[in-house]
Every structure is written in structure tokens, then in C-alpha cells.
């Protein structure tokens, strides 16, 4: 009985912490509730997020605010075409010491807890790949020596769908490394009013840290401890299968326009994010609604679309 009470408390604290974090972020960011939820889900799932939207929608501000609310080290890299992998990962430099000159690893900006990769599509594929490897493996290898990235580690990349000239759009294989790809929508009019009030006034809201890195790791553990009913995971997989043109349940549109369906990573993203959603609501099992709500950001529906066929 005591265990049960403890467990209930643990689950309710999870929801409460997540709500506090969201509220803190929303002190600065007006609206964009779904985007914030998506980002926080990725945070709880130990995943990374790609934010896509036109300039000026507060993508960078969102990441800044999140970093401040978490009281975690935060780095920002502005991606440009001349950015080199070493500029991200770090490099060995010669350092004179008492014993003479020796190579010392100079850690790059990737060695942080929250990393903002701003306009990631402006860097060359070589640089993009360096970051993506770090994102996937959570390690950095330089000159044959492997360096572990700190935990929690989360990359929040942004990209601008406009001005595509001189950019290197992320290949699907690399987009797949992000747990969520969130489209940042243009704010509504009343939200814009609020943004104007907050950003053009004399005072700016104070962001105070609400979660520590340790607490985030605990919360991540709880998320992964949640079991998923067979029928529900089956449902998620059927959704995934339906995005494949060769799938038996694929709708006519998929068969006509889609070349490749979602990858297994998409299914993983669905089930992880659904767990977060259930826990945030204080539930002990995920629902069909949880699955449905995360299908879109998990890019199950954004596989390679073949316009040639149409």
C-alpha cells in the first residue's frame, strides 16, 4: 500500500514538474503550446528536436528560455556554410605545460546539456554529419579518443524553410535522428499582441530554473519504465505500416504519393512520446489518443514523398 502511494506520488510529481517547466517557458514564449509540449516530450524521452519555421517566430528564444528554466549548461551554434566539424566537436590543440608541449583536447560547443543548432541547414553536410553522430551516439571521437557528452544531452536544431539558396537541406536519414520535427506556426493575433507587450516593454520576465539535470534523468527513467499494452503498440505499428505504400493497410493516397514510409525510429518516437503524454496527464497507461497526438511530430507522416508519381 505504501509502495502504491509512493508510486502515485511519483507519477503526480512527474506531471507537476513538467507543468511547472512549461509554465516557466511560457513566461517568455507566448502561445506555441504544442511546440513547447513537443520540446518537453523530447526532453523527457532523451531525444532531439528539429524546429522548423520562418524567422522571427521565437525558435531560438524558446531554446534559450528552456535552457534557463533547466539551469543546465547551454550552447548555441549558428550554422554557416564555412562551419567545420571541429568548430562543433572541438579539437586537439598544442599546449605548453611544465613537461613541455602536448596535445590537449579543446571541447567544442557540443559538450553541453542543451545545444541550440541554429539554422542547421546552412552548414555543409560534413558538419551536419558531425553533429548528427554526436546526437545519436552521445559521444565525440577526436583524434582516436572518445569523449562522452554530458547527460542529459539534448540538441534543438532550427531550420528556415524559406531562402533555400545556398543551404544544404537535411537528408531524410539525418532528419530521422531527431525524435520530433516540430513546425513552429505563426502566432495568432492576440498572441502577437502579447508578444509585442512583452518584448517591447521596459521589463523582461525573469526565468528561474525549475528542474535540475538529475531530476530530468529520473523523469526519463520513469518514462521508460512505463509498459505499453500489446494492442496499443500494435496500433502504433499499424499506423507506421500504413505509411508504407506496400503495406496492406496503406490508404490510396499513400500508395499513390509516398515512396518510403516511416522508419522504426518513428514508432519508437511515438511510443516514447505517448508515454510522456500519459504520465503528464497522471495516467499509468497510454491511450489511443496519446498515440494519435504524437504521430504527426514523430514524422511518421513525413516520409519521402514522391511527387514524381503524382
Amino acid at each position: 500500500m505504501e509502495n502504491k502511494v509512493k508510486f502515485e506520488q511519483e507519477v503526480s510529481e512527474f506531471g507537476a514538474d513538467l507543468r511547472r517547466l512549461k509554465e516557466e517557458v511560457q513566461k517568455f514564449i507566448v502561445g506555441q503550446g504544442d511546440v513547447i509540449d513537443g520540446v518537453l516530450s523530447c526532453l523527457m524521452c532523451d531525444g532531439h528536436v528539429l524546429l522548423e519555421g520562418v524567422p522571427g517566430l521565437g525558435k531560438t528564444m524558446l531554446v534559450n528560455t528552456l535552457a534557463k528554466a533547466l539551469s543546465l549548461p547551454f550552447s548555441r551554434i549558428q550554422f554557416t556554410p564555412d562551419l567545420m566539424p571541429a568548430d562543433i566537436l572541438g579539437t586537439n590543440i598544442i599546449e605548453e605545460k611544465a613537461g613541455g608541449k602536448q596535445f590537449v583536447f579543446q571541447a567544442g560547443p557540443v559538450f553541453t546539456n542543451i545545444l541550440l543548432a541554429d539554422e542547421i541547414n546552412r552548414a555543409t553536410p560534413k558538419t551536419q554529419s558531425a553533429l548528427l553522430e554526436a546526437m545519436q551516439e552521445k559521444i565525440v571521437t577526436v583524434a582516436g579518443k572518445t569523449h562522452k557528452l554530458p547527460r542529459p544531452f539534448m540538441v534543438l536544431a532550427t531550420q528556415n524553410p524559406l531562402e533555400m539558396e545556398g543551404t544544404y537541406p537535411l537528408p531524410e536519414a539525418q532528419v530521422d535522428r531527431f525524435l520530433f520535427k516540430l513546425i513552429v506556426p505563426f502566432p495568432k493575433k492576440d498572441e502577437l499582441h502579447e508578444i509585442m507587450n512583452r518584448t517591447t516593454g521596459k521589463t523582461t520576465p525573469e526565468i528561474s530554473p525549475v528542474l535540475t539535470g538529475e531530476r530530468i534523468n529520473e523523469m526519463r527513467e520513469l518514462v521508460r519504465a512505463m509498459p505499453i499494452a500489446h494492442e496499443l503498440s500494435d496500433y502504433a505499428l499499424r499506423v507506421l505500416e500504413a505509411t508504407h505504400p506496400e503495406g496492406t493497410d496503406a490508404p490510396a493516397e499513400v500508395k499513390k504519393f509516398v515512396r518510403f514510409g516511416g522508419s522504426p525510429r518513428a514508432a519508437q518516437a511515438i511510443l516514447l512520446a505517448a508515454r510522456v503524454r500519459a504520465l503528464a496527464a497522471g495516467r499509468y497507461a497510454i491511450s489511443y489518443d496519446d498515440i494519435r497526438s504524437v504521430v504527426k511530430p514523430a514524422r511518421v507522416c513525413a516520409p519521402t514523398i514522391s511527387w514524381i508519381r503524382s
Binding site: K4, F7, E8, E221, A229, L232, R283, Y284, D290
Partner: protein
């Protein structure tokens, strides 16, 4: 994260799931099966209407109804036998409880076991959800609109046998022509239920026929039919029970059909014999009678031949016998040739792999072969014929054809019985002949003696003359009386002639045919009784010759229209009729039509003064039809038919029978036509 012990699916949840599954199954039955049932139910009602109205063969409609009922059962099984998983029931319960998938998740955890605090908490949450919701809320039973038709069809199905009737005779509906009413020429049968009257007459005919020609079984069944109809008429037996009994009788006759197999063979033999006898001049009339299949004439011709033969010398008799024997031998040979041809044809057809036609040809061959034997047996004595029949029966027994053997055994028994009856009749004939002869002889002798005595008595005296006169008369009478009996006795003791043996065969054939006909007639009458009882049952009343409420209503209408009081019997003959001159005796029967108004149904009658104007009408035709005068004059111009009504009736009845047999006419209407012909059939004296 604290560890917790595993728990099972709560009992309440389990029970709710079971009930939800059952309810879901039932709901599917309602949603899927009931609309289809409505359609099938409508078809069943329609089939029932068609069955009871007898638009087409009722048995087909009954079978169709059974098929539709089977289809309904099939639909019901299909609708409830579809797989309903626990997960489906859980999802429905969950949706009713709020829809956060806790119940399906809990069910899933028990089916795909997982442990941990999350599972336990999910189970307890599911139990809490279940307590909030009932299976009725989870699966509400919504009846489709189409299912509302089912009660209507159900009631219709019950009502159909009471409402829908096959076509039957309603004399009242037709109404009587005015002239017929005035003259009270309504035929007797029209005053009663025509079917019932006809039925009784039919049974009387049957009894007469079976008493003359039927075997003991047929006679008993015919009497039983009469008992049934009498019982129904007296109200002792219900028409439904009577119909069932009549059906049993019809079935008993159908099962025990003991048609003599020799009948058809004999027909073939007679047909061939007619051809060969035609060649002999002295037998040409006999051949003609055979050819026309008029066996009464055949008997007469054979009797004539026998008389002619008796008048001839022994040598001439031998010649005559030889001529007849020759004709018979030739007929037998012809038949054997035909049998051989049929056999060859059968073989040829068998080679062509036409097994059905080959079988028919083989049967023909067998028939001709048997017919040839029959012709050969025809000239032989009854004893020899019986022996041949016995031999054939033994052959059939050996061959394992039990049906044939039984039929032949019965035929043999019939023949023996007929012989015994014939012998008995001959003995009675002898005795009667002797008695009659003696009486006649005595009377004649006395008369002759008296006459002779009167002549002689002028000389010898009256007393003496009387004594003398009596002696020769008595002697002569005794001799005359003895002669026919003696002759018959001698004939019986002697060997019969060929024509006599042929006569025996014809007798035998006629007896068999009559017996079969009486059996067939009994069977037909049983069917008619069953049919009539069914109609009586449908018509409601059966007693007192009333054909049903509808008809009685119509009759009542006509009665009241004719001035009768409501609820009273028929017309009041003679009462209130005008007696011209007032000199006629009041007790006589009037025309049946009163001149007074029909009671005070509409209050007191009042005469109003109306100015009338007389118009002189010309005699030209005003209407479409001819006037009565024209009809009578027309008839006298054409002359009256001299053809016997019986002949006309037979001709038309045969034509009607052909049409009924060949055309697709609803059974109910067939019955109507049959009843009509029975009603107008010629009675005695017509």
C-alpha cells in the same frame, strides 16, 4: 521506483466484459439480422398468402417458407457467430467510462503479462472505471427501423390463414337473375353449400361403384369416407380432423396400390387380337369391338359367337374354334415379333449409350412378350390360366421382384375369387332356372291341359278332361324347366370353347380394370374430401350446409332485400303474396316475392301525392342485350337441341379436364372448375 506485487484482472471487470460481449453479440443480431429478417418475414407472409390463396402449388409455397425460415436461422447464426474479442468489449466499456484506454490496457496486460507498478495501477484504475459504467451504457441496444416491420409481419402471418381463402363458390355473391327469383327456379344445390352437397353426392357414387367393383379394402375405405363426411355434417368431427383422416386414406391407397400388372399386357394383347380377328369374316364385329376398346360390346359379340357355335355341327364348331385359335396364334406371333424388334432397338440404344431410352425399349419388349403369352393363354381354361399366373409369380419371386410377385399373387387371388363367384352364380342360375322352369312348366301345362280338357270334355266330361289335361302339362313343364339348368351343368362339366375362354379373359380384364378404377376413384374422392374439409375449415362454419360467415352475410343481405326480417330464415313462401281475386286458397306456395315493403326498418312509410305522367315507350331495343322476347323467338328459330345432356356434358368435361391437366392453373381455381363440373353433371333421368 518502488516494486509492487502483481495482481489479476478484477472480478467485476471480468464480469462486465463478459456481459458486454454478450450484449455486443445481441446488438449485432439486432443491427444485422433483424433488418434481413424483416425482408425474409415479408417474403414468408407473401408465400403464405400465395399458399392459402392457392395461386400456385401450395406445397411449393410451403417449401419456400421452410427455406426462408432456414435462411432466417442462417442469418441469425451468422450475425451472432462473428468473433467478438475481449479487447473489443474492453474498448466499448472504456469509451463509455471516459475513453482513456485504461480498460483495454488492463485487459492487454493480463493477456500479455507484464509486471510492475504501472500494471497494477492500470488494473486498479480499470476496476474503478468499470464501477462507473454498465454494459448497457457501453452497448445500447438500438433497434433499427426496419425491425419494426417484424411484428406486423408476424401478425400478418397469423392472420393470413384466417383471411386469405382459396377461390370458392359463393352463390350469394353472384346473385340470382330476377326472373329466376320470381319463378323460384333456384336449383336445390344453390341453397346449400355447393361443395358439401357435391361431396355427399360424390361419396354416394363412390359407394355404389366400390360395392359393385371394389375390393374389400376399397369398400371399407369408401365407407370410412362416408362416415367422416357424415360426422362433419353432424358437427361431431372437426373439418381439420376430417381432412387429416381423408389424407390418411389417400395415402393408404397410394401406398397399397396393387394394380394388376397383367392389365396393360392384356390391353396390348387385345389391340393385336383386333387386327388378326379382323381377317376372319365371322369375327369382324368382335374385332371392331376390340378395336374400339368397347368391352361390353366384346362380351355381347362373344355371346353371339357362342350362340352361333352352339347352333352348328361339331365339325363346324371345330372349324370355328380353329379359326379363332389361328387368329390368336397370329396375334401372339406378331407380338413376339414386336418384342424382338423392341429388344433389338434396346440393344442398339444401349450401344449408343442412351441408357434411358434403352430401358424404355426393354420394358416395351417385355410387355410385348408378356402380351404374346397372354394371347396364348387366352384360349385356355381358367385353371390353366391360373397355373400360368402362378408360374409367373414364382419366376418373379425367384428374380427377387417382390413388388411384381405380390401384384401377381393378388391378381391370382382375384382370378380364383372371380371363378368361385362365377361358379356360385352358375349354381344359383341353375337352381333358379330349374325352379322357374318347373313353375312355368306347371302353369303352362295347366293352361294347356285346361284348354285340351275343355275341348275333350265336350265328349268325356269335365272331371276326366281335367285329370288328363294336367298330366301332359306337368310333364312338359318339368321338361322345359329342366332343360336350361341341365344345359348349363353340362357346359360346366365339359371343356369350354375358345370363345368362352376368351370371354373369361375379357371378364377378368374388365373386373381388374373396374377394381383399379374404383380404387382410383376412392383415392380421388379422399383427396376431394381433404380439399373440401380444408375449405370448410377456412370458411368457418361447416354445419347445416352453410358455407361460411361471408356467404351467410350475403344471403342475409339478399333476404332482407327481399323484405325478410333480419335474423329470420329464408323467404316466407306464400305469406303476404297477392292472391288475385282473393279466391285462391291461402295455404298454397306463392312466388316467394312479397309485394309489401320490407318491415319498418326506416320508420313508418308515408305516401306522398305525386303527379305521374304516363309515357308510351316504343319497343325498340334500348339496352345492350336482347329482350326476353327476342331470346325466346331466337330460340324457336334455331330449334332446340336434341343432343343428350349427358353427351354434351361428357364432351365438355373431357375438354375441361385436358385444360386442367395441361395448363398452369392455380390449384384453387382447378378445384373451382372441378366443383362446377360436378355441380352440373347429369343426374338420373337427364
Amino acid at each position: 521506483m518502488p516494486a509492487m506485487s502483481s495482481i489479476v484482472l478484477p472480478a467485476q471487470l471480468n464480469s462486465s466484459l463478459s456481459r458486454t460481449r454478450f450484449r455486443l453479440r445481441f446488438s449485432r443480431f439486432i443491427q444485422k439480422a433483424l433488418p434481413i429478417w424483416s425482408v425474409l418475414g415479408g417474403l414468408i407472409v407473401f408465400a403464405s398468402i400465395v399458399e392459402h390463396a392457392e395461386w400456385i402449388e401450395p406445397a411449393w409455397m410451403r417449401n419456400l417458407q421452410w427455406m426462408l425460415v432456414a435462411a432466417m436461422a442462417g442469418v441469425a447464426v451468422w450475425s451472432v457467430s462473428r468473433v467478438i474479442t475481449v479487447h473489443q468489449a474492453a474498448a466499448l466499456l472504456d469509451a463509455a467510462a471516459g475513453g482513456d484506454t485504461v480498460i483495454p490496457a488492463a485487459v492487454s496486460f493480463t493477456r500479455h503479462p507484464q509486471e510492475g507498478p504501472f500494471v497494477e495501477m492500470t488494473l486498479s484504475q480499470a476496476a474503478a472505471h468499470t464501477a462507473r459504467v454498465t454494459p448497457a451504457k457501453a452497448v445500447p441496444l438500438l433497434f433499427p427501423l426496419a425491425a419494426m416491420a417484424l411484428p406486423f409481419f408476424g401478425m400478418s402471418y397469423i392472420a393470413v390463414p384466417h383471411v386469405v381463402e382459396p377461390p370458392r363458390l359463393f352463390w350469394g355473391l353472384v346473385g340470382q337473375p330476377a326472373l329466376v327469383n320470381q319463378l323460384d327456379l333456384t336449383p336445390n344445390f344453390a341453397k346449400e353449400d355447393p361443395e358439401f352437397t357435391v361431396l355427399k353426392e360424390e361419396i354416394q357414387d363412390l359407394l355404389r361403384q366400390t360395392e359393385l367393383f371394389g375390393n374389400s379394402k376399397t369398400k371399407e375405405l369408401a365407407r370410412e369416407l362416408k362416415r367422416i363426411v357424415d360426422a362433419v355434417e353432424k358437427g361431431v368431427m372437426q373439418p381439420s380432423a376430417a381432412a387429416a383422416k381423408a389424407e390418411e386414406i389417400a395415402k393408404a391407397l397410394a401406398n397399397g396400390n396393387d394394380n394388376d400388372p397383367t392389365t396393360k399386357e392384356m390391353e396390348a394383347a387385345f389391340e393385336e387380337l383386333a387386327k388378326t380377328l379382323k381377317k376372319e369374316k365371322e369375327f369382324s364385329d368382335l374385332a371392331k369391338a376390340f378395336e374400339q376398346k368397347d368391352f361390353d360390346s366384346v362380351k355381347r359379340e362373344l355371346s353371339k359367337i357362342e350362340q352361333q357355335r352352339a347352333a352348328k355341327t361339331p365339325e363346324e364348331q371345330k372349324k370355328m374354334d380353329a379359326a379363332m385359335q389361328k387368329a390368336m396364334d397370329e396375334a401372339a406371333r406378331n407380338l413376339e415379333t414386336k418384342a424382338a424388334q423392341a429388344q433389338a432397338k434396346a440393344k442398339a440404344l444401349e450401344n449408343q449409350k442412351k441408357s434411358g431410352e434403352a430401358e424404355d425399349a426393354r420394358k416395351d419388349a417385355e410387355k410385348y412378350r408378356r402380351a404374346a403369352d397372354t394371347v396364348r393363354q387366352m384360349g385356355k381354361s381358367p385353371g390353366e390360366k391360373a397355373e400360368a399366373l402362378k408360374k409367373r409369380m414364382q419366376e418373379a419371386e425367384k428374380a427377387g421382384d417382390k413388388e411384381q410377385a405380390d401384384a401377381l399373387k393378388k391378381a391370382m387371388e382375384r382370378m380364383q375369387k372371380a371363378q368361385e363367384q362365377a361358379q356360385k352364380a352358375q349354381q344359383q342360375g341353375q337352381q333358379q332356372g330349374q325352379q322357374q322352369g318347373q313353375q312355368q312348366g306347371q302353369q303352362q301345362g295347366q293352361q294347356q291341359g285346361q284348354q285340351q280338357g275343355q275341348q275333350q270334355g265336350q265328349q268325356q266330361g269335365q272331371q276326366q278332361g281335367q285329370q288328363q289335361g294336367k298330366q301332359p302339362g306337368q310333364q312338359q313343364g318339368q321338361q322345359q324347366g329342366k332343360q336350361p339348368g341341365q344345359q348349363q351343368g353340362q357346359q360346366q362339366g365339359q371343356k369350354q370353347s375358345t370363345s368362352q375362354n376368351m370371354g373369361d379373359s375379357v371378364d377378368n380384364y374388365m373386373r381388374n380394370r373396374s377394381e383399379q378404377e374404383s380404387q382410383q376413384k376412392t383415392s380421388n374422392t379422399a383427396e376431394e374430401v381433404r380439399e373440401a374439409m380444408k375449405r370448410l375449415r377456412q370458411g368457418g362454419q361447416c354445419k347445416g350446409g352453410n358455407s361460411g360467415g361471408r356467404q351467410s352475410g350475403v344471403q342475409d343481405f339478399f333476404r332482407r332485400a327481399n323484405g325478410g326480417q333480419p335474423g329470420q330464415g329464408g323467404k316466407q313462401p306464400g305469406q303476404g303474396g297477392q292472391k288475385p281475386g282473393g279466391k285462391q286458397p291461402g295455404g298454397g306456395q306463392g312466388s316467394g316475392i312479397g309485394s309489401e315493403d320490407g318491415g319498418k326498418l326506416l320508420g313508418k312509410t308515408e305516401r306522398t301525392e305525386v303527379k305521374t305522367t304516363d309515357h308510351q315507350l316504343d319497343s325498340k331495343r334500348q339496352g345492350d342485350g336482347p329482350t326476353r322476347q327476342q331470346i325466346i323467338l331466337g330460340a324457336s328459330d334455331k330449334g332446340f337441341s336434341k343432343t343428350q345432356y349427358k353427351e354434351v356434358y361428357t364432351k365438355y368435361q373431357e375438354a375441361a379436364k385436358e385444360v386442367l391437366k395441361d395448363e398452369k392453373i392455380p390449384p384453387g381455381y382447378k378445384h373451382l372448375v372441378k366443383v362446377y363440373y360436378r355441380l352440373i353433371r347429369p343426374r338420373e333421368g337427364q
